[in-house]
């Protein structure tokens, strides 16, 4: 005789291992307090993002326009792409402080490959992504095989890559005005005008009045990458192993999971995404600046943390990171639209990060 048991409190759970010859069995399929808590966290961030959206729409009529929303989306696209990789790293229990500098070196690399060496655009893109992945490989190998904390390893790489970018470019921006379909696919726009849809570069081919919508292609890159990476992290065996590696590395190892390999893959994934983002940036701006990305790593980490992924590993989600990036974007955008000084932005971001983590800790301690 089976009896479905529902547990509403942890005190009940405490004394609930009942054993006996023909005892009743258990497992309610309803969400437990723990599951509700995890859902609450994500819902909390979603609520915060929606609330911010509503407040900004009300505070200024310049916010809720198609152009402005697309603008915000474009501004967070590259951030979100790299933050997706950083999410994997956080979940695996590591982090990468070098992404901003690798971004700069990737930008110089792509601009050099396509404009100075005149490589085939696809080759230039693949080489830049491969470069990023290689940097990730080095970060991963030093962290796992030598056993240094990733904080230190990537801090060193941060300086090395920044220096490399300046050296490779002599400190000067590299102009990139090579025409090509791939560049439009990376950094161009989808133009909707006169009822027709077309892929264009960054120069408008119709009079501005005829434009119904100008959608940056970067947004599609962001959505596509987030969907795929989100799916892989939450539904595949590899994703499960990333969570296990970050949650309890020793347990994962004993269960037969190659935790070094998992971490190295996460570093390489992040590096490759940085290479892709750098290529998109150059294709969009038509220039490669060695001073790109200063402080970018902090923005990426902020997005991941605001999104609910904590630094201790084993928990987090791509959707949360997307929300974190969206909140970051809305803060910047909101401050500009409301006429506040641009200098408020880092203050606002810093306060929100601390508030997000504090809230997380408070919710956790109340649950226990």
């Amino acid at each position: 005789m089976a009896e479905v048991v529902e547990r509403q409190s942890w005190e009940d759970a405490e004394d609930s291992i009942a054993l006996g010859v023909a005892g009743p069995t258990f497992t309610a399929r309803k969400l437990t307090a723990a599951e509700r808590f995890a859902r609450q966290r994500e819902l909390g961030i979603l609520a915060a993002a929606v609330l911010m959206f509503i407040l900004l729409s009300v505070a200024t009529d310049k916010f809720l326009t198609l152009n402005n929303i697309l603008n915000v989306a474009r501004q967070i696209s590259l951030l979100a792409i790299v933050a997706a990789g950083m999410t994997y790293l956080f979940v695996a229990g590591e982090l990468d402080l070098s992404v901003g500098s690798t971004y700069a070196m990737g930008v110089i690399a792509f601009a050099t490959f396509s404009a100075k060496w005149n490589l085939n655009p696809l080759l230039a893109l693949l080489a830049t992504i491969a470069f990023g992945a290689l940097v990730g490989l080095v970060n991963g190998l030093v962290t796992t095989k030598i056993g240094m904390p990733s904080f230190i390893v990537t801090l060193g790489m941060l300086s090395v890559m920044r220096g490399a970018a300046l050296l490779a470019s002599n400190g000067w921006p590299i102009s990139m005005n090579v025409p090509g379909l791939l560049f439009d696919v990376l950094g161009g726009n989808i133009l909707i005008a006169n009822g027709r849809v077309a892929l264009i570069g960054t120069t408008l081919t119709v009079p501005p009045a005829a434009v119904q919508a100008l959608i940056p292609v970067q947004i599609f890159w962001m959505l596509g990458i987030l969907l795929v990476l989100g799916f892989v992290l939450s539904r595949t065996p590899f994703g499960y192993h990333v969570y296990s590696t970050g949650g309890n590395k020793e347990a994962a190892k004993r269960a037969g999971i190659n935790t070094d390999r998992i971490k190295i893959i996460c570093f390489m994934l992040t590096g490759g995404l940085v290479g892709l983002a750098a290529s998109i940036l150059v294709s969009w701006l038509h220039t490669g600046n060695p001073n790109t990305g200063v402080g970018f790593e902090l923005d990426v980490i902020a997005a991941v943390i605001i999104g609910g992924t904590n630094l201790f590993g084993g928990a987090g989600s791509i959707f949360g990171t997307f929300l974190g990036a969206a909140i970051t974007g809305m803060i910047s955008n909101g401050l500009v639209l409301l006429g506040a000084s641009a200098f408020f932005e880092p203050v606002a971001k810093g306060l929100i990060i601390v508030a997000a983590v504090a809230l997380d800790i408070l919710i956790r301690s109340r649950q226990k």
């Binding site: 291992i17 006996g20 970050g246 269960a255 590993g313």
Partner: protein, 258 residues
């Protein structure tokens, strides 16, 4: 010397065939002799307690059985056939599952994910979540473990429930032989009782169990036989019904040698 695999009579007359035998096992760590010429056997369907003071060699012996260490001398026989365990994975493949003292659970993940840690069932490229949940409920049901939900995060469970999940994982791995290192050490009286009941349940389901424990009361409550280690030697094995706590303690500290 007995042929490996020969049946040995148990007190109630039924043949308790040794399914695991270690013969002449020695293990050195540099100059330290952790195990010296140890013979050991586990019979089919029994609960065997391995006791001894700290440093007696219990952990080392267990780690040799579970494939973490390899013996420097001696041989291991499973069902009468000699076997080698170069790593824990091979031992696991032979049906030897170990529950460590630290449980090796991932607190941030739910019960189902922990029960199938590293062995998640697949459907194409993704994890077969439905099967994993169904199989998890089956394991918990078979062992009569009450946990609010397989979706509970393991970190929120009580000590006894966590121990039960760790044991459940060993069973789910197909562990014919289940080794437990100090399963009740961190638990209170009530929860210890539950875990001991779970061990009885394992025996009823046909598993053979080795438990390491310092708690002789718990040992006498579950074990069929008790093997005592001291200074890297197997000092002797007693049937529970034919010995006393006092005799076991004497064997542990060496008083019977005086």
């Amino acid at each position: 010397m007995e042929q490996p695999g020969a049946a040995v009579a148990t007190p109630n007359g039924a043949a308790g065939r040794p399914i695991l035998e270690l013969k002449g096992i020695s293990k050195f760590f540099g100059h330290v002799r952790a195990l010296q010429d140890v013979d050991f056997d586990l019979r089919d369907g029994e609960v065997l307690a391995l006791v001894g003071d700290n440093g007696a060699g219990k952990s080392t012996l267990i780690k040799i059985i579970s494939g973490v260490y390899q013996p420097d001398r001696g041989a291991i026989f499973l069902d009468g056939k000699q076997v080698h365990f170069p790593n824990p994975g091979v031992a696991r493949d032979h049906g030897i599952a170990t529950v460590y003292q630290d449980l090796a659970l991932v607190d941030q993940r739910d019960v189902a994910a922990n029960l199938f840690l590293g062995r998640e069932p697949r459907k194409g490229l993704v994890v077969d979540r439905r099967k994993m949940v169904a199989d998890s409920e089956q394991v918990l049901q078979d062992l009569h473990i009450r946990i609010p939900s397989v979706f509970s995060l393991v970190g929120f469970l009580s000590g006894g429930q966590r121990q039960a999940v760790a044991i459940g994982r060993a069973v789910a791995q197909g562990g014919r032989i289940i080794i437990m290192d100090e399963p009740t050490a961190a638990l209170g009286i009530e929860q210890s009782r539950h875990v001991l009941d779970l061990i009885h349940r394992l025996k009823a389901e046909g598993h053979s169990v080795i438990i390491i424990s310092h708690n002789l009361r718990h040992v006498f409550s579950v074990a069929d036989r008790i093997t005592v280690m001291r200074g890297g030697h197997n000092v002797g094995t007693r049937l529970k019904g034919e010995t006393t706590g006092e005799e076991i303690v004497k064997m542990i500290v060496g008083a019977e040698m005086l």
